[in-house]
């Protein structure tokens, strides 16, 4: 068992807003081992992006309250000074974002934007940095990289921009890349290419990836382990197989049930989880999923700890139902597993 590369322990992030305090991340703990692909899954607003951005120090601001512990390669992230954090960014932890259209500065050449990061961290000449940028563009599969390095972002397609972002992320050879919904803004064929690229980088360079997505199809493609988040908390965590073939939390059942599958009879409407995610301004007491959960009972007003109940080693969830109860209640093929078929 190798030492974890990234360790997050009881991370809490809240934002002061005009309407009150929003608890965006509520006690999230997890770890990523070197060379591992961890997928973080959940609906919009479940705190998965905030978690990632907090690790990068991007949520720091006068209205954010952050507590907990997070280390990458032994370096503390939450308490780090801005100065120390700059050394982490790009060196130990790189991040790519959802919308490659707007993530690159429109007024600088793509190659220069990659070289800028190298120059900020390494004692190299401009020429060396520029050459390195071209190498990186080549490595992420951009044709004619020397020419394209001189192009501006608007001369790139969406997929190429995301490749350029990945090249930028790799420029200092960090052990880990956080990819925040990297394929959401891209069309399906390009999505597959970008995922394949991430997969290759993972396999060839041993790059650990924290992949944030709401798309379970993406998860199934490349993840080693999965973290399911709901309303600021981790509700279930396990290996890809454990989550897909032996899901323990009713929310995970709902997520899996809402995937459209070609090997099932076609439903009139897509399955969905009943109700709305709770407002993080005043989340429900106890289990946050309780108001939407068809299996909720008295005990659910207490917060269930994240621990192994049913399932096998390394598989933990936050649901009071016993392993036996879950087995009987969970019927993935039918329409009442924490989700319901909407009336036509």
């Amino acid at each position: 068992m190798s030492e974890p590369l990234l360790e997050v322990d009881d991370l809490r992030v809240s934002f002061a807003t005009e309407d009150g305090s929003v608890q965006a991340v509520d006690g999230v703990s997890f770890e990523v081992k070197p060379g591992e692909v961890l997928a973080v899954v959940g609906e919009s607003g479940c705190g998965k992006s905030v978690t990632a951005m907090t690790l990068m120090g991007l949520t720091r601001g006068s209205n954010a309250t952050i507590s907990g512990r997070a280390t990458v390669g032994g370096v503390e992230l939450i308490e780090a000074s801005d100065e120390d954090l700059r050394d982490v960014r790009g060196e130990k932890l790189a991040m790519i974002f959802q919308d490659p259209m707007t993530s690159l500065n429109p007024v600088y050449r793509v190659g220069d934007q990659i070289a800028e990061q190298i120059l900020a961290h390494r004692d190299v000449s401009k020429q060396e940095a520029a050459d390195r940028a071209i190498e990186l563009l080549d490595a992420v599969g951009i044709p004619a990289p020397a020419d394209r390095a001189r192009a501006y972002p608007h001369e790139f397609s969406g997929g190429m921009r995301q490749r350029a972002m990945i090249a930028m992320g790799l420029s200092l050879e960090p052990p880990m890349l956080i990819a925040d919904e990297p394929t959401t803004a891209l069309d399906v064929t390009i999505q597959a290419q970008i995922l394949r690229l991430l997969k290759n980088l993972n396999a060839e360079r041993g790059l650990a990836v924290m992949l944030i997505t709401h798309d379970l199809g993406v998860v199934a493609d490349i993840a080693d382990r999965v973290l399911v988040m709901y309303a600021g908390r981790v509700v279930e965590t396990g290996t890809l197989e454990q989550i897909f073939y032996d899901p323990q939390h009713p929310y995970t059942w709902g997520l899996l049930g809402s995937i459209m599958r070609l090997d099932r009879p076609r439903a009139d409407r897509l399955a969905q989880i009943k109700g709305q995610p709770p407002s993080l301004l005043s989340p429900p007491e106890g289990c946050h999923f309780r108001p939407r959960c068809p299996h909720a009972f008295d005990r659910c007003t207490e917060i269930p700890p994240l621990e192994q109940r049913g399932g096998t080693h390394g598989h933990a969830d936050r649901c009071w139902l016993s392993g036996e109860q879950k087995k009987t209640l969970r019927v993935l093929e039918s329409g009442d597993i924490g989700l319901e078929m909407p009336a036509a």
Partner: protein
């Protein structure tokens, strides 16, 4: 590029032509503006007026008059109806004064406007930001003829009386060649008066731009790259926020040269092109007004073109020639 320049020159000629025609025609419909009557002096005889009219060609058709006026303007033979002085010569004499005022003021308002905009954006929502916002709005709201007159009176006149020496001179202009120090001394108040409005305006515009830009995804990317906050701010935030400011600067500068400084020049008695125009307007003296209007229009159109070129250099998404890139 050459196609762009050619297109711009043609459109510039068209604008100048239109401006000249409109200015010329206005003088033919202003009541009580028979130049012959005005030139003939007090209680002229009908014969005198008729003689002047024939001598100056006022009896010709409007089209012929327009033609000869333009010919005089471009051959440098245009004579004022009131002072009988050569118009182009007078403009030429006033130009260094106007340029001194405009260039100095433009530099001042750009520096202070950007500084103030950057500072207030960084401190957005804090007390100092609110205070400076109010101050900027006061600056924008103060008309230059008022603030200029106050400065001239209190700082140029009263203060000199109290101190016994001129900390600030009471108006007037000294050639740079004559004494650079006196030149500067005489321009400080006019520069300040003219800049105040623009400083307020630019700082507001820049503050807004910065606050918009700072939330852009590419600024987040820049931070995630591990750049220093200073690099993020200057290279990514300010660089992108400055694009509209530079545009504004070019246009405002042209407007100030082309007559926008009329009030400042008059209040401080700088005797520049603007004051020349103001005097001519007071006497409904057609040739100088026409010439100064054309001169102003030329600068505005010319700087417009320059701004477009600079704009394309600042923002690569903009290309000067259509069909160059998508």
């Amino acid at each position: 590029m050459s196609r762009f320049v050619a297109r711009r020159v043609i459109s510039m000629l068209f604008v100048l032509f239109a401006v000249s025609v409109i200015t010329f025609l206005i003088f033919n419909v202003i009541p009580g503006n028979d130049p012959a009557v005005r030139m003939a002096g007090k209680q002229p005889t009908v014969e005198q007026i008729e003689a002047i009219r024939q001598e100056w060609g006022f009896d010709e058709s409007i089209i012929v008059q327009y033609g000869t006026t333009m010919e005089k303007l471009f051959t440098g033979n245009m004579i004022s109806y009131t002072t009988q002085l050569d118009v182009v010569n007078e403009i030429w004499k006033g130009l260094p004064r106007t340029l001194s005022l405009a260039i100095g003021a433009a530099v001042i308002w750009m520096l202070f406007g950007v500084g103030l905009g950057l500072y207030t954006a960084m401190r957005a929502g804090k007390v100092s930001d609110r205070l400076l916002t109010v101050l900027a709005l006061v600056g924008i709201s103060m008309p230059v003829f008022w603030i200029g007159a106050l400065m001239n009176h209190y700082l140029g006149f009263e203060l000199s009386q109290t101190l016994g020496f001129e900390l600030f001179p009471n108006g007037g202009y000294v050639e740079f060649a004559e004494s650079p120090l006196e030149w500067l001394h005489h321009l400080i108040l006019p520069w300040t008066a003219l800049s105040i409005l623009f400083i307020g305006l630019y700082s507001r515009v820049l503050r807004g731009n910065i606050l918009d830009t700072i939330n852009e995804d590419y600024v987040r990317t820049a931070r995630a790259k591990g750049l220093s906050e200073r690099q993020v701010l200057l290279k990514h935030v300010l660089r992108n926020s400055m694009i509209p400011i530079v545009t504004l600067w070019g246009l405002d500068f042209a407007v100030v040269i082309g007559g926008g400084a009329i009030l400042t020049e008059t209040v401080f008695n700088l005797q520049g092109v603007g004051q020349y125009a103001a005097d001519a307007i007071g006497q409904l003296d057609q040739p100088p007004i026409l010439a100064v209007t054309m001169f102003g229009a030329f600068f505005v159109v010319f700087f417009n073109t320059i701004v477009d070129v600079v704009y394309a250099a600042l923002d690569p998404r903009i290309r000067l020639e259509s069909g160059d890139t998508a």
